[in-house]
Amino acid sequence: MEKNKLIEIFKTALKEEMLETNVEHNIDLLGSEYKPDLVIYPQSVDDLIKAVRLANEHKIPLYPIGSSSKFKSAVAPFTGGVLISTKRLNKIIEYRPDNMSIEVEAGMKINELQEALAKDNIFYPVEDRFTNATIGGQVAANSYGRKKYMYKSARFYVMGLEFVSPQGELVRVGGRTVKNVSGYDVSQLLTGSWGVLGIITKVTLRVRPIPQKRTQLEYITEDFSKVTEVIDSILKEQISLASLTFRKTDKKYLLQLELEGFVESLELQVNNLKDKYGFKDGSKSQIEVNNYSEAIISLPLDTYCQGLKEIEALKDSQGLIYQGNITNGLVELNSQLLNQELVNKITSVVNDLQGTLVYQGQRLTKKERGTGYIKVLKNLKSVVDPHHILIPQSLVLKE
């Protein structure tokens, strides 16, 4: 469809201030290979519904987008169609501190949410280093932060959702109660659905009291075998472990450990870790492993150290292991040192250890979900989105 005609269509129902044709200036993190004709900034859920209905009527592809930080990893480049941004849907709808719940619009940013909660000593535990990320984007991607070991991922905090179905119907599922088994748990399906099953407009989150204390410890060694020894042993400790990470610089390995909990019990744990392993008080700067980096491995905890050892033992692997979030099972490789031969070898190592290797956005390890898996997903997509309006070329529906 011609761009001008497309814009005219949306002008019939939406105010001009919601329509933006200068895409590059408005969406920061999207590359030039993404060429939508238009960005729509709905100012209300009704606006959004109107846009979705028009898109259905005229068969125009729609791409829900929050702060665009993760969009590219799930959506292949495209030309034409409409980005539908949640930016202006950013209000708190219902806050119940005595229920430890908050309902917000999908475009609210993580940092704004944390600020609103902090005054009551409450927080949303899925911390995101990218504090501009939207709640909608976080939930749509089922994000997790550095402390996944303690706090898991976004889905475990979603109690209810409101979303606009791909056909433009307003759906409300779940609720504001911590327990709920009324009907299918559609909130759980939409969480982590990467925008293909509906556009999330409101999210009700369960939140938690901020822990009394957070402590960081460090451990530095040049001895690799010491590193794996300490990791294996730490994972068996009864401690309030929030994260365990490492980074390799030159010859040194730096281990960082975070504890969260009650003051008195952390004191005991810290003393014990210092005595038993030689941990020291940690610095403020955190090792951050990006789970969507160039070359990333995800392993089960019980094969994690084995994976490190096998990669270290490969020929020409010097400097390859860059850093890792052990408690999240992640190892980040220095992608500049990779060549095809090494990639193949590492793929085989990771396959044997039941892990996942993603290199340059491609999963190289096998995944055995059964052919029925993608089939049932595609069925579902066709039934809820018969015209394939929402992100038609989403990578999550690729076989």
Partner: protein
């Protein structure tokens, strides 16, 4: 009645000893733990995923509905099946395949009884956190299908919070594996959680990867008595708002306290409006701080009497009242209906009051036990089924309870499920487009509507 041809084919798949179809056994499998009755055509006991695939293929070929079944403790009529259904009992498909102390996981077959998993995990210093009151018999498959909650739910959450991945036989007969141990590093839609709470209508769970939780070294148990429901409710709110996350927080109302006292003679004050049972766990330094906070909340909210167990014997004594509830209430009238409503936790006291008012209005006995920490109430309405008028009054009272629950921002079921029992309330809880979206989910998984049809969606 299923044709002999079908029965013979079923026998070929699972062995003759694993197919039941006599009239008498069919009567026993017509029940679950709800008042609803089915009329099964056969009950089969597969012990492998492959057998289940074969059964589903057979059922598809002859267009026969199937209903998965664990221990049959379902309270909503979800396990009884429609007429001539093949009941697929997972009771013999029940091995614990692995307990992994580093990953803190268990890999189990669906028929494993909840309690057996608890016992198997214990030597590793681990527990399977969901602990429904039916844990001595109910199965992991049934727990997942209902997203069962437990007494430790306040702190540890319900079943779905402890499921990492599943193997499922879809209604098409295809086997899929969902979830897993690894953190997600490439975008993928995880189907694990739509099966949790789906009441067996989207496929059969044939394996489950579950997360286990370290057992905490210290537990403290307390009870407190209140003269008014308002005080008790305010106390619950204050505890939650203080950031104390108890393991268990149960509340019993006056009707229940009186019944328990008459039944078990524990020395409870029969004029008290509410009794709260509270448990916290953690490292000793933590439980100490939590207990201090809780006692402060007891005092701030005019508790007329509170106790803290000093040892295991005293702990068991404090639990006695809660444990005696079912037995005690059974004495009041021959029949009862239990509801499973949930409200936001800040509306708990209001809801308890409203239910008490409804009891007054209809002049019936309603005993209330609630998982206060979750906002999950179990009002039990007592009647005599031999007197038709009593049953009608109960029905009216139930409708009013549901209506009030929704007014308070709550919902119709917290852990027992919809099944057949709560179908009529679904349109109160959800708008038509929301119900339509759910129907589309069912349609895409089970286009022929053969897997546990007739339940969950009106």
């Amino acid at each position: 009645m299923l044709k002999n041809e079908i029965i013979n084919k079923l026998r070929k798949i699972v062995g003759s000893e694993n197919v039941l179809n006599s009239k008498i056994t069919m009567t026993t499998y017509a029940y679950d733990s709800s008042p609803f009755l089915g009329k099964p055509g056969a009950v089969v006991f597969p012990t492998t995923t492959e057998m289940i695939v074969e059964i589903i293929k057979l059922a598809n070929k002859y267009n026969i509905p199937v209903t998965p079944r664990g221990a049959g403790t379902c309270l909503c009529g979800g396990a009884v099946g429609v007429e001539d259904a093949i009941i697929i009992s997972l009771a013999k498909f029940n091995r614990i395949l692995e307990i992994n102390a580093v990953n803190r996981t268990a890999l189990v077959e669906p028929g494993v009884v909840n309690k057996e998993l608890q016992l198997a995990a214990e030597p590793y210093g681990l527990m399977y956190a969901p602990d429904p009151a039916s844990q001595n018999v109910s199965t992991i498959g049934g727990n997942i299908a209902e997203n069962a909650g437990g007494i430790r739910g306040v702190k540890y959450g319900c079943t779905k919070e402890h499921v990492l991945g599943l193997e499922v036989v879809l209604p098409s007969g295809e086997v899929i594996t969902t979830g897993g141990l690894n953190s997600q590093v490439d975008p993928e839609i995880d189907l694990t959680y739509i099966f949790c709470g789906a009441e067996g209508t989207l496929g059969l769970v044939t394996k489950a990867l579950l997360s286990l939780t370290p057992i905490n070294s210290d537990t403290k148990t307390m009870t407190a008595v209140f003269a008014t429901l308002e005080d008790a409710g305010a106390c619950v709110s204050e505890i939650i708002a203080k950031g104390v996350i108890p393991t268990t927080m149960e509340i019993l109302d006056n009707t229940v306290i009186k019944a328990v006292e008459d039944y078990a003679k524990l020395g409870l004050p029969k004029d008290a409006a509410a009794l709260i049972l509270l448990e916290v766990d953690g490292f000793p330094a933590e439980t100490k701080a939590m207990v201090e906070n809780i006692i402060q909340a007891f005092k701030n909210n005019n508790s007329i009497n509170y106790k803290i167990a000093k040892d295991e014997k005293e702990r068991q004594d404090l639990w006695k009242a809660r444990r005696a509830v079912n037995g005690a209430l059974g004495k009041l009238k021959p029949s009862n209906v239990v509801h499973d409503i949930v409200v936001p936790r800040d509306r708990l006291a209001v809801m308890l009051k409203k239910v008490a008012k409804i009891a007054e209005k209809y002049d019936i006995i309603i005993g209330q036990v609630a998982h206060a920490g979750d906002g999950n109430l179990h009002p039990t309405l007592y009647y005599d089924h031999r007197i038709p008028k009593e049953a009608d009054v109960i029905e009216e009272a139930c409708d009013e309870i549901i209506k009030e629950t929704i007014n308070e921002g709550g919902t119709i079921s917290g852990e027992h499920g919809i099944g057949l029992e709560k179908l009529k309330y679904m349109p109160l809880a959800f708008s038509q487009p929301s119900l339509d979206y759910m129907k589309k989910i069912k349609e895409s998984f089970d286009p022929e509507n053969r897997t546990n049809p007739g339940i969950l969606l009106p």
